[in-house]
């Protein structure tokens, strides 16, 4: 059994230091790894990233993260990622990482992902260059997730988790206004997950959404945005693999 702890949308700022640390210090008792599903900061500034880095530095479990749209707002996501990596966090974008958990190789594939919407109600790659780029960017994120999941399988991971910020399914957006679903996720992420296979999909971004969902291919999806789970993190026991 693999014990996966996960949370997203912690939106840390200057006054947040130490708010989550006491809960994170209990992680070795209940989890084998911690996933951070993006929007770790409010504006993506280095100052905010340092607060996050300090909050998770030297935790006794591996920490794997993707960035969210807030972490891009200050237009220096590389700096945010570097500050987190310096604190020992593995930050993924279109790539995977392997965590050894009690002799089992657990693969985590990650991308921020992007919007575009869900089948029948989605943006198309057509018209103005800006619109085409919107959809192409979402597709590139999904392609990165698929190839990372496939590579993890080739590397013999018995358990694979897809980590995104944007949602792969509409299920976990229930509670959000339907009109904004195209800004909350994309079916392209779910298609990537179903094509490559995964044991769990974890995302954030939709603060008013719901925790549980599933892809069309039967992969369980969990929205771990902190306002949704109403805890410092949630823990999932994966018996797959």
């Amino acid at each position: 059994m693999i014990r996966v702890a996960a949370v997203g949308d912690i939106h840390m700022g200057p006054e947040s230091q130490g708010v989550l640390r006491p809960a994170f210090e209990t992680l070795p008792d209940c989890a084998d790894l911690l996933l951070l599903a993006g929007d770790l900061t409010r504006h993506g500034t280095p100052e905010e990233a340092r607060v996050v880095a300090q909050e998770v530095r030297d935790l006794p479990v591996p920490v794997v993260a993707v960035l969210g749209n807030h972490d891009h707002h200050d237009e220096q996501p590389e700096k945010v990622a570097a500050l987190l990596e310096d604190a020992g966090v593995r930050v993924l974008e279109g790539e995977g990482t392997i965590v050894e958990c009690g002799g089992t190789r657990v693969g985590v594939a990650g991308t921020k992902g992007f919007g575009g919407g869900f089948v029948g109600r989605s943006a198309g790659e057509f018209g103005e260059p800006l619109m085409k780029e919107f959809v192409r960017y979402s597709r590139r994120c999904a392609d990165g997730l698929r190839t990372a999941l496939e590579e993890l399988e080739r590397q013999g991971c018995g358990t694979r988790v897809a980590l995104t910020h944007f949602s792969p399914v509409a299920d976990t957006l229930a509670g959000e206004p339907p009109e904004i679903y195209p800004f909350l996720g994309s079916y392209l992420l779910a298609e990537a997950i179903d094509t490559a296979g995964a044991d769990l999909s974890v995302h954030g971004h939709a603060h008013a959404g719901t925790e549980h969902g599933m892809t069309a291919g039967g992969v369980r999806v969990r929205n771990v945005a902190q306002p949704v789970i109403r805890r410092a993190f949630n823990v999932y026991h994966l018996h797959a693999g």
Binding site: I10, L20, H207, A232, Y236
Partner: protein, 90 residues
């Protein structure tokens, strides 16, 4: 037939709510998760924010932007407790 003059945008409640949302996103909060909706003549503001300080800033901004309107707020601070159980995924 007479027609009344169109309302100025700052007098139109819908636009004032839109401006509130813009301001919450643009200023120090970077807050996109607070919802503001017009219901039965009042503005209802709901959402979860990361800290008590953010909550105070949101409420102050709401009351500045929507001064003179009937406003109901239900803005809560994100909970940070450790989970008391795990979900089994067989």
């Amino acid at each position: 037939m007479s027609r009344s003059a169109p309302e100025r945008s700052e007098e139109n409640v819908e636009y004032r709510v839109a401006h509130l949302r813009d301001r919450l996103a643009a200023e120090e909060l970077g807050e996109l998760g607070v919802r503001a909706e017009v219901r039965a003549g009042a503005v209802v503001v709901t959402g979860t924010v990361p800290s008590a300080q953010c909550r105070e800033t949101v409420l102050r901004t709401v009351h500045e932007e929507l001064a003179g309107l009937s406003v109901h707020t239900d803005v809560v601070v994100a909970e940070t407790a450790t989970p008391d159980h795990a979900e089994e995924l067989p």
